[in-house]
């Protein structure tokens, strides 16, 4: 293929032009945004969809009769349907609950499904590479019900150590694992693990925060039971998240928060919860946020999720190779070094330079990376690290981002060397 020839409908340069923040300059340099793992940037189409919503058709949803109330309701429910299609939910929109973020999705799962279905003697099996969002709610449930929280260990190869899986699975009622580690970049084999968990009668929940928006996610093909993710990590807005659940499971779940919209009836004596997803959406929902999320889904579908995945895989492979070539071990990658079952999150340990200092020096080059424990303290302890400096890619990232990253890292090494 001739250089510059387009291989697919995916054109990184065009994607960059769709992201207003990428025109920003930081400390005299163009921004090099490498913090998509924490939150992605938004496209013009996402931002404009929300503005137009507020400018033209904002109204509270449900029960309205007038035109803008209908339009707002259609927009909100239309987003739910689009999200359902995007993840190929078998029961379509009746399986998509809007929350405020991945964290709320896991709390809903633990505090409603967990509180009803799990008790002393039951086990929730998670992994040592989970984000706090998929740890703390289970610890809270343990306090309330005595359920056991068990961890699948992580090996020195930065992957799940499945040696004792059979034993670990004893009494497990729920396997709850991340699709991809937000520290290591490790992707877990969700489909295979789900099949094993199902074979012992456990349900399977997946933390999709780092999956959805970075590649195709098909809950039917994965054959899982719950999927949690956030709008703001997939080009969408803050303030909205998703909990997808099989309709057959959802129908057995009691209410979560109490209030308007989630009831069928309220008297002085008690209340009857509503049917369907409404039962979990008390109060005025994130309407404009759903509109923004719909625009993000539409944009990602336009790119093609296969193309996004291929693009990020290419960037990751390129970055891992150049980090190795350039620094010859002085910059250590905390995560797998190959791109099999690995995504575009690259945690760095820079010789002699604390991650905070790395991030500070990089900021001077306009490079945005995140230092810290990345809300995965058990994993950090596992590798004896207080923090890493993490660079992570989105659909709009390119190899020039990596070039600036390398230049800035060299400066950091020189400065502290």
């Amino acid at each position: 293929m001739a250089p510059g020839q387009r291989v697919s409908s995916f054109n990184a340069r065009r994607v960059r032009a769709d992201i207003p923040q990428l025109t920003r300059r930081i400390n005299g340099r163009p921004i090099t945004y490498l913090d998509s793992g924490a939150s992605s940037l938004q496209t013009h189409s996402v931002i404009d969809a929300m503005s137009r919503y507020y400018e033209l058709r904002h109204a509270n949803v449900h029960r309205g009769v007038y035109q803008t109330a209908n339009e707002a309701t259609d927009a909100y429910e239309g987003s739910r349907a689009a999200v359902a299609r995007f993840i190929n939910a078998p029961g379509e929109e009746s399986e998509v609950v809007f929350t405020k973020n991945t964290t709320e999705s896991f709390n809903l799962l633990a505090k409603v499904w967990g509180a009803t279905n799990l008790g002393a003697g039951d086990v929730v099996l998670i992994t040592q590479m989970e984000h706090h969002a998929n740890i703390v709610p289970w610890f809270q449930l343990r306090e309330a019900t005595g359920v056991e929280v068990r961890f699948i260990p992580v090996g020195d190869d930065y992957r799940l150590d499945l040696t004792n899986l059979d034993e670990l699975l004893r009494d497990v009622k729920l396997l709850s694992i991340t699709g991809m580690s937000n520290v290591l970049g490790t992707k877990n084999r969700v489909h295979d693990l789900a099949a094993i968990a199902h074979s012992v009668g456990a349900l399977v929940a997946v933390d999709g925060a780092q999956m959805v928006g970075h590649g195709p996610v098909d809950v039917t093909a994965l054959d899982i039971d719950f999927l949690a993710f956030s709008g703001h990590k997939m080009l969408g807005p803050t303030g909205i998240g998703v909990l997808w659940t099989r309709e057959s499971v959802l129908d057995t779940m009691g209410p979560f928060m109490g209030g308007g919209g989630m009831i069928a009836d309220v008297t002085l004596d008690g209340f009857t919860p509503a049917k369907g997803v409404a039962r979990f959406e008390a109060g005025t929902p994130p309407i404009a946020e759903a509109v923004g999320l719909h625009a993000a889904v539409r944009y990602l579908e336009g790119l093609g999720m296969d193309h996004v995945a291929a693009h990020e895989r290419y960037l990751t492979e390129d970055a891992l190779r150049r980090l190795d070539l350039t620094f010859d071990g002085r910059v250590r990658v905390i995560g797998p070094l190959d791109v099999i079952d690995r995504g575009g999150v690259i945690s760095l340990d820079v010789e002699g330079v604390h991650p905070h200092d790395v991030a500070q020096v990089l900021d001077q080059f306009g490079v945005c990376v995140r230092p810290g424990h990345h809300c995965a303290k058990p994993l950090m302890r596992r590798f004896n690290l207080a923090a890493t400096a993490r660079a992570s890619f989105g659909p709009y990232s390119n190899t020039a981002d990596t070039t600036v990253l390398l230049e800035a890292l060299e400066h950091a090494l020189k400065m502290f060397g």
């Binding site: 604390h354 991650p355 905070h356 200092d357 500070q360 810290g372 923090a387 502290f416």
Partner: protein, 153 residues
């Protein structure tokens, strides 16, 4: 890169690379106090020997970024061997330095003043321009302050 050099002055990097008064003191008799910054994971442990109102010895252990580590090292050299009154005054003055938001516009003049008041410690003055790093610079100082309060009560 002028900004960055404002933060990472040579003295800071030097104290980061070769921290002074690093280590432990037997406790007791020394007083031991721990400081922790939950946001970034920086940790510092301060050991204090106080005799007749004088901070006769101080040692520090811990880990963290260059700012928190050099600040502890610089602190130890500034307070070691001083009467507690002076130590307390230095703590106050340093914390003041860390909150002073550009009152003097003449940077050179300010730098000169700081140098007169703070000596080597003045190297940390640049941190105020990086508000998120202030908590790194003040961690050891807050820990020392807490230790002195514990000793007093």
């Amino acid at each position: 890169m002028s900004n960055l050099e404002d933060l990472y002055r040579e003295i800071i990097l030097d104290h980061y690379r070769s921290p002074r008064n690093r280590g432990e003191l037997a406790s007791p008799p020394a007083h031991r106090v721990e400081g922790f910054n939950p946001l970034c994971g920086d940790e510092v442990t301060v050991y204090l020997d106080v005799n007749d109102g004088v901070l006769t010895d101080i040692k520090l252990t811990g880990h963290g970024c260059s700012i928190s580590q050099s600040s502890s090292s610089l602190m130890s050299t500034a307070v070691k061997g001083k009467p507690l009154e002076d130590v307390r005054a230095t703590i106050e003055a340093f914390k003041e330095l860390m909150t002073a938001h550009e009152t003097t516009t003449d940077e050179e003049e300010r730098d000169a003043t700081n140098l007169r008041t703070f000596g080597e410690l003045a190297a940390l003055a640049g941190v105020v321009k990086f508000p998120v790093r202030i908590k790194c610079a003040t961690l050891a100082w807050n820990t020392l302050q807490q230790g002195l309060q514990e000793l007093a009560s």
